[in-house]
Amino acid sequence: MHLPCFIQKIRAGGVNVNQAVEALRMENITKVYPNGVIANKSVTFVVNQGEIHALSGENGAGKSTLMKILFGEEQPTSGTIFANGQKVNISSPTEAIRLGIGMVHQHFMLVPSLTVAENMMLGIEPRKGLKIDRKRAEKEVREISHKYNLPIEPNERVEDLTVGQKQKVEILKALLRGAKILILDEPTAVLTPQETRELFAELKTLRSNGYTIIFISHKLNEVKEFCDRITIIRRGQTMGVYPLSDISEQEISKLMVGRDVILKISKNKILPGAPAIKVRNLKILEESGRVRINNISFTVREGEILGVAGVEGNGQAQLVKALTGLGPYHSGSIELCGTDIRKKSVSDIRKLSVAHIPEDRMTIGIAPRLSVTENTVIDKTDNIRFFTRLGLSKSSEIREYGKKMVRDYHILCKTPDVSVESLSGGNIQKTVLARELSGGPKVIIADQPTRGVDVGATEFIRRQLIAMRDAGNSIFLITSDLNEVLGLSDGIIVLFEGEITAYLPDASNVTEEELGQYMLGIKRQSPEQISEVLHEQKD
């Protein structure tokens, strides 16, 4: 038992024992969702003024629920909330904002058809007479974007943004509203370590000005590095509050999951086979004519994981779209499993045994109101195991399959018949993974595969991907998590401004610093070195 000694540690070295002022107290919060899931069971959560407080727990532990209650989006079934010592009734987000609470949602709350500036100014538009003062809105957005070092183009439409950019808009939107208590629900899931560090540098200035920040993340190293205290919840109940100076990452994950988690990735030596993904002289132009991918070539062989490193927005999104048939390419060729995919539809490409884990699970990865089961079989409608030749479904087979997916991928849900939208973020991600990995893919395009999943599940997914590689499949891995790209990949290519600027054949020999220099465009390899990634014999 570790708990007693933890408590002692806290008693002995608690932070700011005397001068701490409670900014917020949520007392005995219980939440039962309309489908009967008890997401919070008598949770007490206290945050002091001027601290960065981490909230951690497994996927589905009830973190987002607790925060939605605090932000007035969900009503607690029972329990009370105090803000600055006063009992409050937060009946709506408007009320929360009035109390100085702001929130960055795990799943973006942005209007796709509006621009970045319009989204950020929604409801607080600067006015000139009756008209909205666009110039000033734009200027304010630029200012705040500059101030927090989160670069963003105010006039771009949100639907054209990548996930990382949308995340930045979300964060800035909350910061702009000047909330004294800021809730950040997994804001860093798709940010690079560099961006996270810069964000936190700013958050720390806010903290010293008396702001309070609640931070949710599954990346325990971030939590450990940037936060003051941590509240751990497990299955809807608090497991305690600890100062982060006194608790190690291992101890945190143990409290969260109930076992030790090995985050170190170990894998066998690579035994590459024939080329499975062959990209040659690929060029992708945007409609505006801007070059997103400029003449790149690479090969991913069977039994190989090729990682892509790069600051997001350097052409990764366009490359993935082209590879999966979701987006166009201008010239060059893409061959998947020996077939040129020019003019092929998404379903033709999927029939070549290509799986795609999308970076944005909420917009393209799921049918939210359909069940977990249905979401895991949608790509398998041509399989006679689930549908007869005449197109009738075999319900019992499908039901069994859904159950198996839930079991195999540890998807936390009441039954496999519940709608996917009622799952927690990480469990939605697991549903996507279950579907994509269970179809027997030969080529896997994995875009942020462990985004938002807890430490235990991350470990599981990584092991799963390695097992698939060992079985001779090819994996093209795009991730903003440097540990992941370094630990999981066999070789790494670096994308910078739409070009491959480096090929690092052995990821295990690469340091973060070295990779960082390529990613920021400080260093660049010679064309000969880069062309090694083609794996072609020179004659």
Binding site: G14, V21, G36, R229, V241, V257, I366, D379, L392
Partner: protein, 390 residues
């Protein structure tokens, strides 16, 4: 458990809406009528006073079942085509042409006429669908405009090519006797069409829930981007859904014509497509509930007709009721509070029975030993002293 609660709440909601609708009738009648008691009586009880009148309810419900089913299939695919109205009317025209000009034996004749009507409906419905697929034209706009085109085209065809010249009002030539749909209940005009409608509703349910195309259709309707990503051929699915719906509405038009009439007598599109939307929503977009919902709307209409005939209240009352019902159906919040209460109670009971809501243990979780039993630290939580000190 929750399914039962949801069913209870949904049914109660439907009953409540019906009750409110009835109360509304009372109020309107008492405000406008000289003899309110008679009017109310004829409205509510009237439809059940004879077999003939009960038959009228079924007759009124039959076309609505077809159009409501069509609406459901279109809506479930995430499309907003209003074409059921036009498809129904063109189905009438198609069936009429076959009924007047065809020379076939009795069993085959109505069948051929109805199938041709369905074909016409499918064709009309495909127009907005294809326009949307090719050029992204809003199907809502094109379908509404097309409904007018269909209406005037039909009237034109009847008046210039199939008109009974001896008649002073617009009426077509008499149909061949072989084309009539058989009446199935003696003493009423309830015809075989109602059986066709019931069967189609059931098939519609099976189609949506138990077939590959139906599955793809629901996925497309739920999230188009996802459908594209998963490669279900979303564009094809959207067109098929509308064509199928058009065929169903067209069949409905044909059945209505041959079951109820011996001549074409409409001077404008009868509006079953629009009322079909009310029925579809009342049935909560579930084909299995369509017959019930259609019967209720049918009952309202028959009641209003009887009331209009036997008292001084006009039948337009029904329109008010239908409007209010639409609002009530759309109000998600109605009874939501009650539903939540029931569910919380059930969940608490479940939790107490030791059948805890706690998630199933991850299979992996036992690796390395689970040496922090979380039940041990339920409450109070080991909060740091600074919190207690305040």
């Amino acid at each position: 458990m929750n399914r039962r609660i949801n069913l209870i709440v949904d049914l109660t909601k439907m009953l409540l809406i019906i009750l409110i609708a009835c109360v509304l009738v009372f109020i309107i009648v008492f405000l406008t009528s000289q003899e309110p008691a008679d009017a109310v009586y004829s409205f509510f009880v009237g439809p059940f006073t004879s077999l003939r009148r009960i038959g009228n309810i079924v007759e009124a419900a039959t076309p609505l079942m077809f159009t409501a089913l069509a609406v459901i299939i279109i809506f479930r695919a995430g499309q907003f085509s209003m074409i059921s109205e036009g498809a129904f009317f063109i189905g009438i025209l198609g069936a009429m042409i076959v009924a007047i000009t065809g020379r076939m034996p009795p069993g085959i004749h109505p069948l051929a006429a109805i199938v041709f009507g369905g074909f016409c409906g499918a064709f009309v419905a495909s127009v907005p669908a294809v326009l949307k697929m090719m050029w992204g034209v809003s199907e809502l706009v094109t379908s509404i405009m097309l409904n007018y085109v269909v209406q005037f085209f039909t009237i034109y065809v009847v008046s210039y090519h199939y008109r009974e010249i001896t008649s002073s009002s617009l009426a077509s030539l008499l149909f061949q006797e072989t084309s009539a749909m058989p009446v199935i209940v003696e003493g009423t005009r309830v015809h075989l069409g109602v059986i066709v409608a019931l069967v189609l509703c059931f098939l519609g349910f099976l189609f949506l829930q138990r077939t590959r195309l139906g599955f793809k259709l629901r996925v497309t309707g739920d999230n188009l981007h996802f459908a594209q990503y998963a490669g279900v051929g979303a564009a094809g699915v959207m067109v098929s859904a509308q064509v199928l719906a058009g065929a169903i509405a067209g069949i409905g038009g044909g059945a209505e014509l041959l079951g109820m009439y011996t001549r074409f007598k409409w001077t404008s599109s009868p509006g079953y497509g629009w009322i079909g939307i009310v029925v579809a929503l009342l049935a909560r977009r579930n084909p299995l509930l369509v017959p019930l919902a259609a019967a209720f709307i049918g009952y309202l209409n028959v009641g209003a007709d009887i009331m209009a005939r036997s008292s001084d209240v006009s039948r337009e009352v029904v329109l008010i009721i239908q409007g209010v019902m639409m609002l009530l159906i759309a109000s998600e919040a109605l009874l939501q509070h009650w539903r939540q209460k029931l569910i919380v109670k059930a969940a608490e009971k479940e939790a107490k029975e030791g059948n805890d809501d706690a998630p199933p243990e991850l299979p992996d979780a036992s690796i390395g030993g689970n040496d922090i039993p979380y039940t041990g630290v339920d409450t109070p939580t080991p909060n740091s002293p600074d919190q207690e000190g305040l």
